[in-house]
């Protein structure tokens, strides 16, 4: 059997999520398309044709060749003015062994744990919505032809295998479906992260201070940071890479990926996507221009970045001029006493892919005044500062990511600023990925100067301990 997923038709309610095609909109933190492909994998449908429209590159980037699901995916493009079912009518060769067709934002909502027989026992059926066929299933070419000719198919439809057809035809339906999932239905599907007994799911690398309150049921994606004194839940769906600042309350809401929620906000019965605030009841969209309220987590600030870079370069020049003489005196002593030395290690580089950086390492574990002075003056970072002056590193930013140890982190960063000094210089317990994402959001001249001063002071007072 083969499957055809037509995701090329536009649906006005999904325009509020400009930039994300509706097939990739998350349902309980997984794209809608992911559920369809999971169904194919479960039912032994190994060949899928996806018909693309707007956002084709994103869908292709997400689904790839289907290896993730153990299936084979091919792509085609919708013609202008073509209705989804027209494509199926014109492609006879694809329905010889039966066909599963989905032609709209349609969720196969499981009413209970999926029946092992699944589509093997499902009779030929179709589901129409607003004069369009959104779902069609036939096990043989004859069944498919009959349905395409206008036959309604089995009266039981998908309910025969305990699937409730859920068309997502407006914003309220999208919100409603997510709320249904967070209230307890998502356990019927494959989920990412840790599942709790109270019906919650928390993804990987989620930082929550003790003062933050998580009230079940909630779904939290990967790499999120919840601020102090914040309350998340009940009934909150938080996607990946979301930052919730302190004293905010989130309930009955959907926060899409890469969103920053500011301090002391009350998000109730809302959908937030970057700086867009959406009312799920009528789809009203408000664009918030104040980045301290809500914002996209990965802003593009090229001018600010350039100004910041220039000012920091002069600061680095000042620090390195102060360090050059102590370095020339102390480093030979460090080598003579054999207390430490530089070792070249491979790091990720945003321009060239990889870069070898000299990393100072202690060779012998014994006390040494020379070593203490060397560390206290941050002279171990002198070669990195020289590289920063040559434009190979940033002065303040994210810690350089090692290859291959930090390859996973690199894949999740769209902005990478390998720097001489970073949060990890004065707070070693923090998670590197969360810190890196946080820096991308809060990066500014003030933040960089803060990192520089705190790093230097921390080294000065903690050296030798």
């Amino acid at each position: 059997m083969k499957a055809i997923f037509h995701v090329g038709a536009a649906h006005p309610w999904a325009d509020a999520f400009a930039g994300v095609p509706w097939a990739l909109l998350p349902i309980a933190n997984r794209p809608l398309l992911d559920y369809w492909l999971e169904t194919c994998a479960e039912q032994g449908i190994d060949h899928v044709q996806i018909i693309l429209g707007d956002g084709a590159d994103q869908i292709e980037s997400f689904a790839g060749d289907g290896t993730r699901w153990g299936i084979r995916i091919q792509y085609g493009f919708a013609r202008v003015g073509e209705r989804p079912l027209d494509y199926v009518r014109q492609s006879h060769e694809r329905r010889d062994d039966g066909l599963l067709f989905v032609g709209g934002p349609f969720f196969l909502r499981r009413r209970k744990a999926f029946h092992a027989g699944g589509f093997q026992i499902l009779e030929a059926c179709r589901f129409n919505h607003a004069d369009e066929t959104w779902f069609l299933f036939g096990k043989t070419a004859v069944e498919v032809e009959t349905l395409l000719a206008g036959d309604a198919g089995s009266s039981r439809g998908l309910e025969q295998i305990h699937i409730h057809p859920f068309p997502i035809d407006r914003m309220a339906a999208y919100y409603d479906l997510n709320m249904k999932m967070v209230r307890g239905e998502f356990s019927r599907y494959l989920t990412a992260g840790y599942g709790m007994a109270d019906g919650s799911s928390v993804g990987y690398n989620v930082l929550t201070p003790p003062s933050a309150l998580l009230r079940a049921p909630i779904i939290i994606g990967n790499d999120c940071r919840i601020g102090a004194m914040s309350t998340v839940g009940p009934n909150a769906v938080i996607a990946d890479h979301v930052i919730v600042d302190s004293h905010s309350e989130l309930s009955n809401c959907i926060i899409l990926q890469d969103t920053y929620i500011g301090q002391n906000l009350e998000i109730h019965r809302k959908i937030i996507f970057g700086r867009r605030l959406i009312d799920p009841d009528d789809g009203t969209v408000v664009e918030i221009d104040d980045s301290w309220v809500v914002a996209r987590n990965r802003p593009d600030m090229r001018t600010e970045d350039f100004i910041r870079y220039c000012i920091l370069w002069f600061l680095a020049l000042g620090v390195s001029l102060v360090q050059v003489l102590p370095f020339l005196i102390l480093y030979p002593l460090v080598r003579i006493t054999r207390i430490g030395a530089y070792r070249r290690q491979l790091f990720h580089d945003p321009k060239t892919g990889y870069i070898g950086l000299p990393v100072f390492q202690k060779i012998e574990n014994r006390r040494s005044v020379v070593y203490t002075l060397f560390r206290a003056a941050a002279l171990d970072r002198f070669p990195w500062l020289v590289l920063a002056l040559r434009g190979r590193l940033f002065v303040c930013g994210q810690p350089p990511m090692r290859h291959p140890q930090d390859d996973d982190i690199i894949t999740q960063l769209t902005h990478y600023y390998p720097a001489v000094f970073s949060y990890s210089d004065y707070n070693k317990d923090n998670d590197r990925l969360a810190d890196a994402l946080w820096y991308v959001h809060v990066r500014s001249l003030f933040e960089d100067v803060k990192i520089l001063i705190k790093s230097l002071l921390h080294r000065f007072f903690r050296a030798g301990r």
């Binding site: 002391n264 906000l265 009350e266 998000i267 109730h268 809302k270 605030l277 009312d279 009203t284 408000v286 918030i288 221009d289 104040d290 301290w292 309220v293 809500v294």
Partner: protein
Amino acid sequence: MVVTCSKEHGIGVIQVGKSLTSATTDAFREQFSKWQSVEPDVKNYVIDLKQVDFMDSAGLGTLIAVLKCVTEAGGDMKIACLQKKPRMVFEITRAYKVFEIYDTVDEALKMFN
């Protein structure tokens, strides 16, 4: 920025036009202060936001500043006809806890009586 000020039963009714954002807040404050100086006996105000279809944090901050100014002078301020989009901003920033909000200007005026 058009701010229309009138007096009904001794209460100032301030009708704000279009949007209340960082680009228009200065004009709003200026025109409001000017009218206050002309009508010094008016202590209570109703801010009619019927025509305001967008408001940002600067607009919200201005309304809070005006409320502070009015209450310090011994009066009170209420908001009327808050539209859908500004209402959403009020909701997420908890500003609805700071202001008394009414559906119509008449309702707000009645509450003063």
